[in-house]
Symmetry: C2
Subunit: 345 residues, 2 copies
DNA sequence: GCGGGTTGTCGAAGCGCTTCAACAGTACGC
DNA sequence: GCGTACTGTTGAAGCGCTTCGACAACCCGC
């Protein structure tokens, strides 16, 4: 029996330490450390010997000890929202992108739920368990943001709060997305454009992405010499119907409301406006939704993987002391499907 | 400027240490530690003074230091599968249950992807970053299991591999679930029962849950004196149709195949067998799917939250050195909806 | 063949915490 | 008033790692 029992019942195991490796290789512990970190030049022969010992002994540096000594945990926190109504596949895409991004730079990911809120952020950051955090689905007036600012752990937000001062945010460039939709419709000859957006409350809260899309649409329409109107839209059939009735002459429709897409399509069918013959529809929504709609929708997808990847990159840059822009907006990418076509009088 | 810059660029911050707290409260550092852990009796007055200092200074114990000294990280790893075709909502339910369960016992959760596989398990366990691991969606011959066995970190599997020797597994009791379906149908007067199960390959792989359901169904049917047949079923319309045609006289149908549920219902409609007038259908599937089917299906749900909670409980028990059963099977819970009714000749 | 740079390695200090053995102080039974 | 038994607190050791300064050993130009 070589295992020494310990009070906690947790396995101390016969943990191989850096000293064991050093002895086995006939060098100092610090040399092993330098082999591992590459922070000092080590001769090829020594390195080889050390690496061999590491392998034969099965050495894994103790994360706690490392974090204590180096002040780096090599772990980042990911705050998942999981509010009801979130679109799970997209969420997972974000999360997976963050995970693989982190792993590719030797970092692990600690999961944080949103309902821990600011307290969770404070706890995690305070304990030095993580080097930095990524917050997903940040709201305009997110209660965690003030906490984030007073803490001095680097962080990256996915989404845009009311003010990006002192923060680092990544998101799709919704203004450009709106503009891209307009330009696509304009190129097809459409003159009257309507944006069916988020519910009114979202605008009232001054939520960044909804407002930015609207501004992008209006501005692009003005530039292209088109008429455009914007209508908030609740995610219900009745609301979709009403919104559509209020824009009877629009031949180009931009729908920026995942939850309302289906209702809008149903309402159009009800109103006998055929897609794309009578009216062209562009959606700003996950590819998934656009693809399984009937007809498949021309859309600007939310580039979840790209955003997740960028978030990690930005966080790593901050951890390395590099100054990064407060706001990173990703260029939209319009995919043409069957819901848009040239105008037919 | 009070912050001292450090080479890494990572914030050392003006971290409050246990010594700072001790000084502030006029006690020894060890006393503070004992106040926090409760492992020794501390007078009420001292405790109060220490707690006050902790609060005013905003002290958070350094996770790395703690893990180094105590050999406990207070972190568990959660290995998420995310194979294509996984039912995301269920997955998230599992994950959230694990998360909240862990948090309720002061543990954090580190996310591991399945595609890191055995290497990921080894890395995480070896580095002492986590105290134990929970693996979701374990396959019958999961490549991570051997690694798990040779490591000496406690772990809990959600699902059942081929052999549970030396492991701890939690899952729904699929045999009992199958039996419950049979008993429900028997009580309604059905004499001929058919199980539409997983695709053939799943049985060929000797996958635990599929086999267990089938055995449960067959055994319960025998006991109740009913005739029962089992048919594997691909998740396609054609396969569902063919399977149904092969059991023309069955009036009680048990569907244990999330992905095939809709196809089966469509096929029944096509065959002009009305539900529940001509044939009663019980599904073993997430509530979600059962509820949004037409008609709403009587079903035995997969109790994801319960399983997640139990997994954490079991892991904590193991961490405390308590011996736990190798296999924990949760009792099924049949919910009656509109897809089953008394037999009508 | 002697200063002045590199290069490769080492020993020791110290990161912030837990835990152990030790020890004052108080309480109590006799 | 003495031993015995707690109770509450302490100082020191040590967890496994990184990092700093020191220092041999070597190479070079002269």
């Amino acid at each position: 029996m070589t295992t020494t029992s310990n009070p906690s019942g947790r396995a101390r195991g016969n943990v191989v330490t850096i000293t064991d490796v050093a002895k086995h290789a006939g060098v100092a512990a610090s040399t092993v450390s330098y082999v591992l970190s590459g922070k000092r030049t080590i001769s090829a022969t020594t390195r080889a010997r050390v690496m061999a010992s590491i392998r034969t002994l099965g050495f894994h540096p103790h994360a706690g000890a490392r974090s204590l000594a180096s002040n780096k945990a090599n772990v980042i926190a990911l705050a998942l929202p999981l509010r009801p109504g979130m679109h799970l596949p997209i969420l997972m895409q974000f999360a997976m992108a963050v995970l693989t991004g982190a792993r590719s730079v030797e970092h692990d990911v600690l999961l944080l739920t949103a309902d821990e809120g600011a307290a969770g952020v404070r706890r995690i950051a305070g304990s030095a368990l993580v080097d930095g955090l990524i917050l997903m689905d940040v709201e305009t007036h997110d209660p965690r943001v003030p906490t984030l600012l007073e803490l001095d752990r680097p962080s990256v937000l996915i989404g845009l709060p009311a003010s990006a001062d002192g923060l680092t945010c990544v998101d799709l460039d919704f203004a450009a997305a709106g503009a891209a939709c307009v330009q696509h419709l304009a190129a097809l000859g459409h003159q009257e454009i309507a944006l069916l957006g988020a519910p009114q409350v979202v605008y009232d809260r001054d939520t960044g992405f909804a407002r930015r899309t609207r501004d992008g649409v209006m501005e692009a329409a003005r530039t292209a010499g088109l008429t455009a109107v914007a209508r908030p839209c609740e995610p219900t059939y009745a609301a979709a119907l009403e919104a559509l009735r209020s824009v009877p002459h629009a031949t180009g429709l931009i729908v920026h409301n995942e939850a309302a897409v289906d209702h809008v399509l149903t309402a159009l069918r009800e109103l006998d406006r055929r897609v794309p013959d009578d009216v062209s529809v562009v959606a700003i929504c996950p590819d998934e939704i656009a693809e399984r709609a009937t007809p498949a929708l021309t859309s600007v997808p939310i580039p979840a993987s790209e955003v997740g990847r960028r978030a990690v990159e930005l966080l790593m840059a901050k951890l390395d002391g590099v100054t990064v822009p407060n706001v990173t907006l990703l260029a939209p990418n319009l995919t043409v499907r069957s819901s848009t076509g040239p105008i037919t009088h």
